[in-house]
Symmetry: C2
Amino acid sequence: MDDLFQAHAALLEKAVAASRERGFWAAFPENPKAYPEGAASAGKAAFAALKGQPFDLGGEGEGARVGAEVSPFGPALGITYAARSVDALVANAERAGVAWAQASVEQRVGVALEILARLNAESFLIAEAVEHTTGQAGPMAFQAGGPHAQDRGLEAVAYAYAEMARVPGAVRWEKPMGRSSIRLDKDFHVVPRGIGLVIGCATFPTWNSYPALFADLVTGNAVIVKPHPAAILPLALTVKIGRAVLAGQGFDPDVLQLAPDTVEAPLAKDLATHPAIGLVDFTGSSAFGGWLRETLRDKLVFTEEAGVNTIVIASTGAFAAMCANIAFSLSLYSGQMCTAPQTIFVPAAGIATDEGHKSFDEVASGIGAAIDTLLSDPARAAAVLGAIQNPATLTRIAEARGLGRIVRDSAALQVEGARTATPLLLAVEAQDEAAWLEERFGPIAFVVAVRDARDGIARATRAARQKGAITAALYSTDEAEIATAIPAYAKAGVALSVNLTGGIYVNQSAAFSDYHVSGANPAGNACMTDAAFVASRFRVVCVRRPAAA
Amino acid sequence: MDDLFQAHAALLEKAVAASRERGFWAAFPENPKAYPEGAASAGKAAFAALKGQPFDLGGEGEGARVGAEVSPFGPALGITYAARSVDALVANAERAGVAWAQASVEQRVGVALEILARLNAESFLIAEAVEHTTGQAGPMAFQAGGPHAQDRGLEAVAYAYAEMARVPGAVRWEKPMGRSSIRLDKDFHVVPRGIGLVIGCATFPTWNSYPALFADLVTGNAVIVKPHPAAILPLALTVKIGRAVLAGQGFDPDVLQLAPDTVEAPLAKDLATHPAIGLVDFTGSSAFGGWLRETLRDKLVFTEEAGVNTIVIASTGAFAAMCANIAFSLSLYSGQMCTAPQTIFVPAAGIATDEGHKSFDEVASGIGAAIDTLLSDPARAAAVLGAIQNPATLTRIAEARGLGRIVRDSAALQVEGARTATPLLLAVEAQDEAAWLEERFGPIAFVVAVRDARDGIARATRAARQKGAITAALYSTDEAEIATAIPAYAKAGVALSVNLTGGIYVNQSAAFSDYHVSGANPAGNACMTDAAFVASRFRVVCVRRPAAA
């Protein structure tokens, strides 16, 4: 067994420090040029070789296979995965989990860090897999699906390691009793909660799964990864790499298993309710997230669900830059991000700007025009928008057209075979809550006329409390207004970005710095980047005995 | 506003360090002689003055009052408390909680530490209150109800402070982008989960409530304390002291409220299910704990419930000392401890000891005789046993007599007016699970004949997994047997004490060292002394904006 912990100790130390300082830090470079020459083309070739083939996770045998992934850019992937029954998955995890639970914290952390390093080396292949399942454009699929996801996995390892490192291995407890003392030797054992189930989503299969996957692993829990049927490959590649590292270190590879399923015969409910499953992490709809929260008893359940992310425009000293910034946020990956804004509150009487007074309509059309400008170049449009992951999103766009006055209509890009749609921007009144107060996943946004900025902030924070929100933005030139707004957003449990312009967007969440999902409103019951996300994934059992004299 | 944080900073630092090192440490002296001369008699006098009077929490007005506490040592206390409706309690907490949530971490921690210091100064009064509600004998009521409980409160403050201190207040995030960079200023806000509800128990009203009470407070949650109707006074005194400190620092005292109720009109369910309650901590029966876990959604629920604590006697090199140690564990506070052993497994063929082979019957009668010896002196018997908190326990003892062969019968002490009972010790067979595999709270214990030590360990660990257990003990002279047993106990999530003799007992759980309740079996869903106990009681919300150039 290699000393993987020692091999990666310097990286871990930096990650632990970064997660405390929360300034900018990244372990895995997001710039493709930082990777070896030829890595990109090798990734493309490896992806091409996987297409149309049974995926080999190792030791599958001849059983049934599932898999019907179709790229949002056109072609079916034609890849199948060995099907596994719930009982077989659980039995394998229980068998493999025994030695994994008894491995040292350092052994498990070493394995996790080695998996992350190997995932990083395969970032271009994983990027292809993410691109052709989620519809993310290539550059985003590389960054979000590769290094950014790996950073998030590393962040979870750092948190979990920090928590476990606080548990001493062995101590001498000596209580003075007058002239003598009572002396006990104590050993503390970190024990897992049970098998971890990680249920992936179709839009960010790696980025949203890695925190839970790695947090479960290092805290001693065997893990079953249940990918979304539309985005199996990115997690199949992840699990394959993980199993190889585990096996190489003498562990049963079934510590980490893939549970592929189909829309017709889903496994998630049967897995989640199995008594041997102790932890469930889910990213996806409020309907299923709510079912998990209502149904599961005495299990740890971490969810990231839906919400209504808002922007309040009270005033701005940079109207054009604000419109450009919002336009990018609405367009990036066609609004298919849990962090994308949807509902933009603007005072009905208009706002003060560096370009003079702007009416409500001028603000709305300013954002619409900024979207047009951003997407005017077809290549840039394709690189920003990517494709639409789920055909249902196109239906949602069509239905949304009737919800308000169309400021900017949605349209398909001219990209052969790809399912695409530019943002639909609608103007509505504050009382049209049926329109703007429901999450409408995809490139659908509302500009909502409100009485004034205060009314907008009240509605934005109430929406967060009632419907959930992961992000919120506020534009204001009035520092007193900003100062008053901050406690309201804090109480609503939503991360707030103020006056963003330039190359940073409300929908970007930085590993090691931002607290992604607060866990304090219905958009999710947990923050995915804090101690609470990891501290309950293990328990500590003490063994004590009188010390030898 | 005083700088209470600075005033108590040295103590906090030591507490944080102790909770990491987990060797012996105590902040508040357990020896009554360490307190000022006259403190004990002043405590007695203060208690006497409270009896037969309406308890003054401050500002109660003329409304309805409740309270029917009767000392297990005889007299009714005759103290009444102002009744409060659920709606009034919640409205008060919501109003008072606004400023409390916005106070700094240091302000809140300073208030908590000052409350603990003042509680310590009132330890003798609180000891009287604990003695005459729980039935604990005086010395134990002082230690467990006073300094030990305060240490546990301090421990929770230390954990919570350590977790919150990891959240930086404000940082500059600067991401290099080629020749320029993106710079954001970020502020991180610790926000509470909602109102905390702490439901106390009748046997350890302070020791079992302080961890949650102080963890909730310092993480910014207003707290409603709902004491057991039989043990209101210790928590009323606590809340009164807390409110005085809060008011003295300019906070609304309703940050900390008392919710006294009666057996006939209980408040716990209505409080727990109120939407404004975000956290519920409960110590008590599995029936109500299970109801809370089944019923409450999207709330944090921490429970300490029931269990079957076991001892396995495989062999011993100190038979007499072992019997004496077990006898004390069975007798202390008449077995009314969540950590008291109940079920003792002994091989049917007997065991090897330093006194030669001992048959099953000899082991059982050895323990019985040790109880007799321990309790032979009436004064010592009274000081060890205390009184029986709940009359139902006497009924339980009477019914238990029919469950097996009586090795040692229970009897009352000759203490005028007090409700007392010495331990009942029964011998049963392994298959009599209806007898030994149910928690029988109070001085009831079983010696169970098992095939061999391995069978005993298997039954002990299975009992912990199925029924829950907070403690387990093992006596063995075979190091290989001990080494094999440890992973089984760890998997069962139960703290294990090996070969205890002398002045340390399986039912003693040391603050800052032992992990009280593992949270890994049905005896409780949470450990009460780790980061997981505090880390979810608050959330972090980030506010970010472009940094000034």
